[in-house]
């Protein structure tokens, strides 16, 4: 039985990674169309990706929006998470469930409503507004990560700091934030990633000039499957991989120098 299980799990792992691996390999095809396995290897599609002003513009848009969303969601989420973990008020479970709604409500509906509002306020295509909307759906992720991280901070450490005369500001700056730092960075990374990968809201709020990378891929797929998409996808996969790697390294370091 265990052997059958291991074989099954192994097979499924292959199936899980295969699509992603294949896209990455395809992105390096030489030749004029995508072939698997590639006859020759080349970085031509990446060159074309970064050489195309439209794709470059999308890269820029994606990055700016993700930075806005990541910063906003992490900051706001940090304070909210702290309030959940240390605060004393009724209805915590309910409030937390409510704050997780943005990832429960079908994104299409959220996106349409946000577009509806944005259209009235002439904010369609506004990078700041897209960033703020992304922050809304990144917030639940940030909350979940930071709730866990802040629970790992011993409440007695905070009491000790207060008893020693630290003001609330000093408490945050010198005790809470340093101790929650790995969690904060993790949350920021995943908030960034959530925004960077996001498609539906971006689709509705993009307008003509503010297309993020996923939106441009979507639009390209509607027309024809051009090989450059593979390179862009590989790039996105690379960003994901990098962030997961950074997070893994962070988590490993924290385990090494965590409290006794």
């Amino acid at each position: 039985m265990p052997r059958a299980l291991s074989s099954y799990v192994g097979l499924l792992c292959l199936v899980l990674m295969a699509p992603i691996a294949i896209v990455v390999i395809l992105a390096f095809s030489g030749g004029s169309y995508l072939a698997f396995p590639p006859q020759t290897y080349s970085i031509q599609w990446f060159v074309r990706f970064l050489g195309d002003p439209n794709w470059r513009a999308s890269l820029w848009v994606s990055t700016i929006v993700a930075l806005i969303a990541g910063t906003l969601a992490t900051t706001i989420g940090f304070f909210a998470a702290y309030a959940f973990v240390r605060g004393d008020f009724p209805g915590k479970k309910l409030l937390l469930s409510a704050m997780l709604l943005p990832i429960i409500v079908p994104t299409v509906i959220t996106a349409i409503a946000m577009y509806f509002l944005a259209a009235r306020l002439h904010l369609v295509g506004n990078l700041l507004w897209i960033g703020i909307c992304h922050a809304v759906i990144a917030l639940p992720v940030v909350l979940l990560i930071l709730l866990s991280a802040l629970q790992g901070v011993d409440a007695n450490l905070e009491r000790a700091a207060l008893s020693l005369g630290a003001s609330r500001t000093r408490l945050f700056l010198t005790v809470v934030i340093p101790l929650a730092a790995p969690g904060l960075i993790s949350a920021a990374l995943f908030a960034f990633l959530t925004s960077f990968d996001e498609l539906i809201i971006s689709l509705f709020l993009a307008g003509v000039r503010a297309q993020t990378l996923p939106v441009r891929i979507w639009n390209s797929l509607q027309m024809e499957i051009e090989p450059t998409i593979a390179a862009v996808s590989a790039f996105l996969i690379g960003v994901t991989g990098l962030i997961l790697l950074l997070d893994g390294v962070l988590r490993g370091r924290k385990r090494l120098e965590g409290p006794k």
């Binding site: 011993d154 007695n156 450490l157 009491r159 000790a160 700091a161 207060l162 008893s163 020693l164 005369g165 630290a166 003001s167 609330r168 000093r170 408490l171 010198t174 005790v175 340093p178 101790l179 120098e257 965590g258 409290p259 006794k260």
Partner: protein
């Protein structure tokens, strides 16, 4: 933000006035009052759930009393936030900041008070010397043993000379031998600095060893306050008697009182006498006497030894003096032969060592 009150030389005086704290349906602290003198080592002793830690938390400012007052040298602290009370606190799990080394941990309260760097260095080094951790300034918590961490916690809590230091079962996580050693050190530091200490513990030996006075708490109320000796020898009720060490508590009804001596009649018909204390005729009461105050001699009550236990430095005998009445006798293990089970003995005691307590 107002600066914390400047500490007087020596310790401060703390007054608790009628503190009440209710959590949900339970009154965890039930009208607790106490007056703690400057330089005193004052313990709150009681079983878990007795309200001692909650009381300490209210003094520290981490819990707000529903009613009552907390006064430090006549200043009302009751509504002051913890960071402005200027008290020192030592926690059971040490609460050493793991991301700062020993030096920075101890320097933390000084930096919070914007003490200049040169002064910080001098004062932290003094504190390190006091707790004998001079060479550990650059270590981190994970490199220290439990005892060392606790000493860092103590140094940190006193480096800014607070008028009162609060301690919440600080030695609870240490093993027995280390605990005793730390008790001695703790007392030494307290006396040298003349600090007022409010100490929470459930360990009665520890409380008696360290304290000038002990407040025994049960179900949110203070049962008795007094010096260890006083509480031990003359408890005010059966709970206190039982909580501090072993006690013989024989129940019955007071049938006579004459010239301050009460006579108790047990359910199985025995008549025993002891100083009356607060009991009245006809009341249900218990006769209290410590096992070490009893001895087997020639004058007293007859009984049969039912059980003999060897406890190392003590030989404990259970003697049946009536069909339902037993006395526990503790004899020092001097090497002399002790009575065997089944043997008949005469149990005597000095009348001054016994006491009648209300039930």
């Amino acid at each position: 933000m107002t600066k914390p009150p400047s500490p007087p030389t020596g310790g401060g005086a703390l007054v608790l006035k009628d503190l009440v704290k209710t959590y949900g349906a339970e009154r965890v602290v039930d009208h607790v009052s106490a007056a703690i003198r400057p330089g005193e080592f004052f313990s709150l002793l009681g079983p878990s759930g007795s309200g001692k830690t909650t009381t300490l938390m209210m003094i520290a400012g981490f819990a707000t009393p529903d009613s009552g007052q907390i006064l430090l040298d006549d200043a009302d602290l009751t509504r002051t936030p913890p960071q402005q009370r200027g008290l020192g606190m030592v926690f059971q799990n040490y609460a050493i900041f793991p991301h700062l080394n020993v030096f920075e941990n101890i320097a933390f309260p000084l930096r919070a008070r914007r003490v200049p760097d040169t002064e910080i260095r001098a004062r932290v080094n003094d504190a390190l010397a006091l707790v004998r951790l001079d060479r550990f300034a650059h270590r981190f918590a994970r490199q220290l043993s439990g005892g060392q961490q606790q000493r860092v916690a103590i140094a940190r809590a006193i480096v800014y000379q607070p008028p009162i230091v609060l301690m919440d079962e600080p030695l609870g996580a240490l093993d027995k031998n280390l605990r005793y050693q730390m008790q001695v050190e703790l007392k030494d530091i307290q006396q040298r600095l003349g600090m007022t200490v409010v100490y929470v513990t459930h360990d009665q030996e520890e409380a008696m060893n360290l304290s000038d006075r002990i407040a025994i708490m049960n179900h949110g109320r203070i049962e008795q306050v007094g010096a260890p000796g006083t509480i031990y020898e003359t408890p005010t009720n059966a709970f206190v008697a039982r909580f501090l060490g072993e006690a013989n508590l024989i129940g019955g009804e007071i049938v006579a009182i004459e010239t301050g001596i009460a006579t108790l009649k047990t359910p199985d018909g025995l008549l025993l006498s002891a100083p009356a204390g607060q009991v009245r005729q006809g009341q249900r009461a218990v006769l209290f006497i410590r096992p070490e105050k009893l001895f087997c001699g020639t004058d007293g009550t007859q009984g049969i030894v039912r059980r003999r236990s060897f406890l190392g430095n003590i030989i404990r005998l259970s003697v049946e003096i009536g069909p339902d009445t037993h006395l526990t006798i503790d004899q020092a293990n001097t090497g002399a032969p002790a009575p065997e089970p089944g043997q008949t003995v005469t149990v005597g005691w000095n009348a001054a060592h016994a006491l009648m307590l209300a039930e």
